[in-house]
Amino acid sequence: MLLGGDSSGEDGIDFGMGILLGLLALPGVFTSLFLADKYGSLFQVLRGDVDFDPYVASLPDDYFFIALSMVVTASVAVWKWDSLLPDRRDYANLAPLPIPSHRFLIANLLALLFLTVVLSVDVNAASTVLFPLVVCGSHSSFGYFATFLSAHLSCLLLASVFGFLAVLASLGILISVLPFHVFRKFSLYLRCAIVALLLTILSTSSAVPPKIHVLSENPNGWLRLFPPVWFASLNQSMLGRANPAISALGERAWIATGVLLIVAVFAYGLGYRRCFINSAETIAMLPAGEGAVAGRFFRVLDRMVFRSPFERASFRFTVKALVRGESQALVLGWFAGLGIVIACQTLFAAITSPLRSTDLIPSAAILSVPLTLGYFLILGLSCSFDVPVALLANWLFQLTVDRESQECVPLARKMIFVFLLPASVFFCLPLYARFWGWEVGLVHTAVVTVMCVLFAEFLLVKFRKIPFTCSLPNFKSHSIVVILFYVIGFFAFSIVTATAEHWAFADQIRFLVFIPVVICVWLGLRYSRQSLTYLDKRIIFEEISPSALETMDLGSGR
């Protein structure tokens, strides 16, 4: 891509390409390995499943991989939205060079395609190798394996291409049709809508597959309009397990990808012409609007929550950086998306499981849903606070903020709760009260709120930054430890708490056990914060990692 959308080049969100590719490849590796028991011949015998057909049984898992690859490539296109087409800065830098302008188009397009291919291969590589091995492991025929592999691979690649082209075509059409300032305003909403759609695709990946084979019974079902269903149907067609209705849906995958290719190329060409060749004529100023609703929102919070000038100014700054900063929104979006997907998968698995006698109270899985969402939202906010925005501009805070004031922790705490508590009260309480009564709803909302407060306090023990104003901590040196910590934290926070809560719901007197535990944890966190030295509480603007080798500097005293 040419210059890209983010003008603040010193932001320095650099997780390292290796770590990014590794993270993206992980779902394919783990999902393939976790499926070994489903397809293992020993487990089939133990289950008494003698008519087990791996081709048919693999549909839900194939659907998940198809959804994943489609979502990843589309997400990359949404992430690089501002770089998909050249902008005025590209024009200013490239137009004076003695190079024909169509070469820029080709170079930009090739760079985008390369990025898509790399990410697509990365996301699908592990599942392409491991998943067919796992599925066909109990069959000795190579032909059986080869058929599965080719169907799996072609559907994944086609789904990836479809995801990318869909975003590219949307962008090209919009920028060709709309006036530039309308496009700028509208593009944010479109990006949000695409992200919501992608999350829906991933979140429903366990709920949709059981309905695919019964589509012929319902010729007008909305599921026929769901793109991943077309690719899953194509997969079943290639494996020879499709009925006529599924075969017809499979054909849609080819047709839709072909049509999208033509539309995307055409729209991209038009958009390119408008963006690059005419960019000298476009107006430099981008109207941003008054933001009256946001103004009222801020004023209400000023009166109720953020009382000091520092808190008011920093809260406004943080919200705007979070909404408008690409890297910050990406980090928060990644965590929120992961939380929503895990929560939805857990919820679908829980509500489709057979009813049991204890269903008068929600199961541990259902109880874990808001905890999972809370965990990932708090973690996402906390991590996004670490990502700097326009670091060189932080001189303003250095010049105006009292470093000894220790206002950063209250600020971050209030911000987390402003984002989280309304969601907890307005969604968790009515939903649980509706299905299990007000008593369960109130108790569960209280548990979720208390756990979120404790978790936020835990993350803020050593916090001493104004969000987005400090240089990035060195993730690379201990990234594995951090990821492990997050995974263990998720199990402790979400699974263990939900299980304990479920146990307590059986006899509500057991909830009394929680009170001393919560008090002890709270006091422990408070003590940890208070025992920090004065220097560890000062506001910092630069994260300095400890040197691997420190000298004693004995000569300096001479």
Partner: protein
């Protein structure tokens, strides 16, 4: 009355001195120009004056007290325009000024009124809701100037404040600096543009290699160097290169086969 005073300032970065021995005093109502070639220690001196870095040795006094004793109180009375217009590109001009004013503890109604008036006077009102990322260099510079003036500071530290400004804006700012001096503000003015320093500043200080090479009024410096204007005096004191000869050599390199 002496507003700002630097006593034998020294600043070392990993034992290399950027500023070796800088002393001066700036009275209320004075505009002190600071001149010097690249690497003379101007930026390091400015950072010490505004309290963004601590001197390795020496001290900065404001109204007779070390600024380190009450850095927060000192900064409330300080307006600063940095050399580089590093601003938050995702904020609009109006939002940035609101951030600055709120951080400085200004009351919301007063702040809103001042921002609106300042933006109007600096010809930025039509662009107040546009993202700073889309501003030209001159527009960013005007935002920096407004941000420095918004809270009516007693002391102004201006590092290349005319950088990128158009002719009209530059004239306005030059007149503004003179006027602020007349109104009793102390102004420390760093620049490479000698003509502007000559016209705007009541006193001039020339730095070289981290030391004060000469100081006094512009006329004193011209007379001491035996030159007809400040530019010639500066060249006489600081530079030992023949600039015409260097220009001729550059052209020769360009035209060489």
């Amino acid at each position: 009355m002496i507003a700002l005073e630097a006593n034998r300032l020294m600043k070392c970065y990993t034992s290399v001195p950027a500023v070796s021995d800088v002393s001066f005093s700036l009275n209320s109502g004075e505009v002190l120009g600071c001149l010097g070639p690249n690497g003379s220690g101007k930026s390091s001196t400015v950072r010490m004056l505004i309290g963004l870095s601590e001197p390795t040795r020496g001290e900065v006094l404001f109204c007779g007290k070390s600024i380190q004793l009450d850095l927060v109180g000192y900064r409330k009375l300080l307006g600063y325009v940095p050399e580089e217009a590093n601003l938050y590109p995702f904020l609009s001009g109006s939002e940035y000024l609101e951030l600055v004013g709120t951080l400085r503890g200004m009351e919301a109604p007063v702040l809103a009124k001042r921002i609106s008036s300042m933006l109007e006077l600096f010809s930025l009102h039509p662009h107040r809701h546009s993202a700073i990322g889309s501003y030209s260099k001159g527009m960013r510079q005007r935002i920096l100037l407004i941000a420095a003036l918004l809270h009516d500071p007693e002391l102004l530290v201006l590092d290349e404040p005319l950088s990128g400004l158009d002719v009209t804006s530059a004239l306005i700012v030059k007149n503004l600096i003179k006027l602020l001096g007349e109104r009793g503000k102390a102004v420390f003015y760093c620049s490479h543009v000698l003509e502007v320093v000559e016209k705007v500043c009541s006193h001039v200080m020339i730095l070289q290699k981290g030391r004060v090479l000469a100081s006094g009024s512009a006329i004193d410096l011209q007379q001491a160097a035996g030159q007809s204007n400040l530019e010639r005096a500066f060249m006489h004191l600081v530079e030992d290169r023949d600039t015409h000869q260097t220009a001729r050599e550059i052209v020769a390199v360009m035209e060489a086969a």
